[in-house]
Every structure is written in C-alpha cells, then in structure tokens.
Amino acid sequence: MSTTYDKVADIIAETCDIPRESIKPDSHATKDLEIDSLDFLDIAFAIDKAFGIKLPLEQWTQEVNDGTASTEKYFVLKNLSTRIDELIAAKGA
C-alpha cells in the first residue's frame, strides 16, 4: 500500500515532469524541486482530487507571509504529506 508521501511524489513527478527518483521526503517543493506557483496549483488540484480534500493554500500562504509559519512546514514533502494526513483525518472526524 502506497503512503501519502508516495502518492504526493508520484503526483509531483507526473505534473511537473520531474524524475521520480530525484524527489525525496526532505525535498522542498520550491527551493529544491523549483516548482513555481502555477505548477503548484496543478499539484494542489491533483492532491485535492486524489485525497478528497482541499489544501488550504490561502491560509498557508498567509501564515508564511505573516511569519507565523515557515515554508518548510508546508512545502517540504514529508511535512506536506503530514498536513495531508491531518486534513484526511479531520475530514473523517
């Protein structure tokens, strides 16, 4: 059974045409993988569809801009996967 991280990495590889093997749990979506904001919208759409959730991108962006959260919290892939798991759990609660 594939993990949330595996699914996210597959989505990124397919959406952004990035070799799957170069995507790691510690990869930062923008700093390491150089994914721009438009490509990230495509990724968000694919994640929303795959997991039946709605990534709160506006809230995350606001937190980063306000300095109350680091980009690593949301855009390092292992952390992003944790956020997705939290959203899935919240949906089922």
């Binding site: 438009l38 919208l41 759409f45 569809k49 962006t61």
Partner: protein, 156 residues
C-alpha cells in the same frame, strides 16, 4: 462581441449555480480591424480570442459562485483545442462549468459551439485574488450589469 474592447460575451443565456454551469452567447462581428491582419482577404476569428471567450464565460461563473467577493485571473489553459474555423458573423454559444473550487484557485472547463457543433474546448485554471482596486471592482460590476448578471443580489 466587441473584439477591440475584449468584451467577448454578448449575453448570458442561462445559469445554474447549483450545477456550477453557465451558458453564454455571442456573435463574431462581421467587421473588425483584427480581421485586417488575421488574415488579409481571409478573415478568421483568432484561436486566442476563442480562449478568451471561454475564459470570460467561465470567469463570470466563477465570479457568481464566489458572489463577486474576488476576481478570477486566468492562470492556465490546458487541452485547448480549435476544432474548426470560426468566421466573422458566426453565432457562438459557450458552455462553461466549474469542476473544482480549490483554495485560491478554480478549475473550469468550457466548450464553444456553432449551430450545436463543437468548435473549441479547453480546461482553464483561475487564480482567485482580491480586486486590485475599488475602482476596478466598480468597473467590473458595471460590465457584469451590462450582461444582466444579478450582481446586486449576489453581493448583498
């Protein structure tokens, strides 16, 4: 359709907000300076302007679903297809639908038809952002009211 002003939609034919669908209609003008260049002696509706028709059709729908609280800016076009030539004087209908409302973005699809036959289709991505200024918002509302959109009811 007023090509020089990028006002592509003449009227909204029907809206179903529950189904997240909107149908718009327009007629390609018989004359326009655009046709002097595209193309000399063979005037054709440019494909990029058909994309704009689809963007405006679905853009108005996105506005209505959001009760005009923010502005959809076209951010991406996928699978844009122009299936046949479109000429001056052609009457077109566009069927737009929202397929996903994300956080700060919306994905829509649109199909353009002439006499019931598909002429173009695409998937469109919009970024949802605040209106750049109150003046812009007012001008935008005036544009919507010319299309008889129920703006006052939706923004109440």
């Amino acid at each position: 359709m007023r090509l020089e002003y990028f006002q592509m939609i003449d009227r909204i034919v029907e809206v179903d907000l529950d189904a997240r669908r909107l149908r718009a209609a327009c007629t390609v003008p018989k004359e326009s300076p655009i046709f002097e260049g595209h193309f000399p002696t063979y005037p054709l509706m440019p494909g990029v302007l058909l994309i704009e028709c689809m963007a405006q059709t679905t853009g108005w729908l996105v506005c209505m679903l959001g009760r005009f609280s923010a502005m959809p800016f076209l951010a991406g076009v996928k699978e844009g297809k122009f299936r046949t030539l479109v000429f001056p004087g052609d009457r077109l209908e566009f069927d737009g639908s929202v397929v996903h409302e994300g956080s700060g973005y919306t994905i829509a699809e649109c199909v353009g038809r002439r006499d019931g036959k598909k002429v173009c289709d695409a998937q469109l991505t919009f970024r949802i952002m605040p209106f750049p200024s109150p003046q812009f918002r007012e001008a935008f509302f005036a544009w919507g009211e010319r299309l008889e959109l129920p703006i006052k009811e939706l923004v109440r």
